[in-house]
């Protein structure tokens, strides 16, 4: 099971790297889709179907909007030349990657094994089905135990819509 997850993660990393370096913007967007749909399969392997459903639908809509935007622009990205500062960035990234690798190598034996997290916060949620009465435990947590979080998420979405409408409005209300 874990080997499939590692394969998916490597595929996602390859897709994101390609989308950074692609010459054509359309192929960059499509290879960005590899990351999203790979995340869907990773969620399914990790047994989180709720997240997988949300991720697959949002990914499809995001790709549709991005491709619709790309239809109105030029496909080609402007060429960038090689600079010395790029070498510096590359060196810094390599140093940090090596540091993280060493740190994780030392830390990871101290943690509990994969999938068996310490559930100090979530222990009351284990019997959530009998407390809230909903058969789907995730919905029971999202709308029962953590309804404040859901209210906050809905408010964030509402605020986002107001922001989009405010920015995109060309004519003021007074003109009408």
């Amino acid at each position: 099971m874990e080997i499939y997850l590692i394969i998916m993660l490597i595929l996602m990393i390859c897709g994101s790297l390609f989308s950074l370096h692609a010459k054509d913007l359309l192929s960059a967007v499509i290879s960005y889709g590899i990351v999203g749909f790979g995340l869907v399969i990773a969620f399914l392997i990790l047994q989180a179907p709720d997240l997988a459903i949300v991720q697959i639908v949002v990914e499809i809509i995001t790709l549709v909007i991005m491709i619709a935007v790309l239809n109105n622009t030029t496909h080609q990205q402007e060429e960038s030349r090689f600079h010395f500062s790029k070498m510096l960035y590359f060196a810094v990234v390599l140093i940090f990657a090596a540091l993280f690798f060493i740190a994780f190598n030392k830390i990871s034996p101290l943690l509990s094994s994969f999938g068996n997290h310490t559930t100090r916060m979530a222990t009351p949620y284990m019997h959530g089905a009998t407390v809230t009465g909903s058969a789907n435990l995730v919905t029971g947590i999202v709308f029962g135990f953590r309804a404040y979080d859901t209210l906050g998420e809905a408010t964030v979405l509402f605020t986002a819509v107001i922001g989009v409408l405010t920015i995109l409005r060309l004519k003021g209300k007074k003109d009408e």
């Binding site: 009465g133 909903s134 058969a135 709308f143």
Partner: protein, 146 residues
Amino acid sequence: MKGMTVIVKKVTQFMAPVIFIFGIYVVLNGHLSPGGGFAGGVIMASAFILQILANGEILDKLRKEESGLEFLESTAILGFLVVAALGLLLSGSFVFFSNFLKQGVIGELLSAGIIPLENIIVGTEVCAAIATIFIALVVFKDEVTK
């Protein structure tokens, strides 16, 4: 954005109602099976987006649709707060979001108290929000190119 060919339009006519009904199913069964308000709302909004992409826009209709969707969204988020406040008033304990309806049998469609109600409200809100954003982008593009 012009409409697409006749084949795409016909297939969209058949598929969009099915997608919308599937979204309603996901919302209503949110407390029984995977899914819920957010996923179902986005599925319902994708039916709208499919229609707009396939048929091209008729701008007068879209403007009317946009104001209606804005009203729906604001009403839905107000309804979420009203449900929370009803839990504060009707149940004995003075707790926001407390479950004031009967829990029923686990696994039936009408169970889990206010959770299906909250699912429907959040589904409406998410559907209206995403459709509003998409329609606003389409209308904005038309106003700029004029």
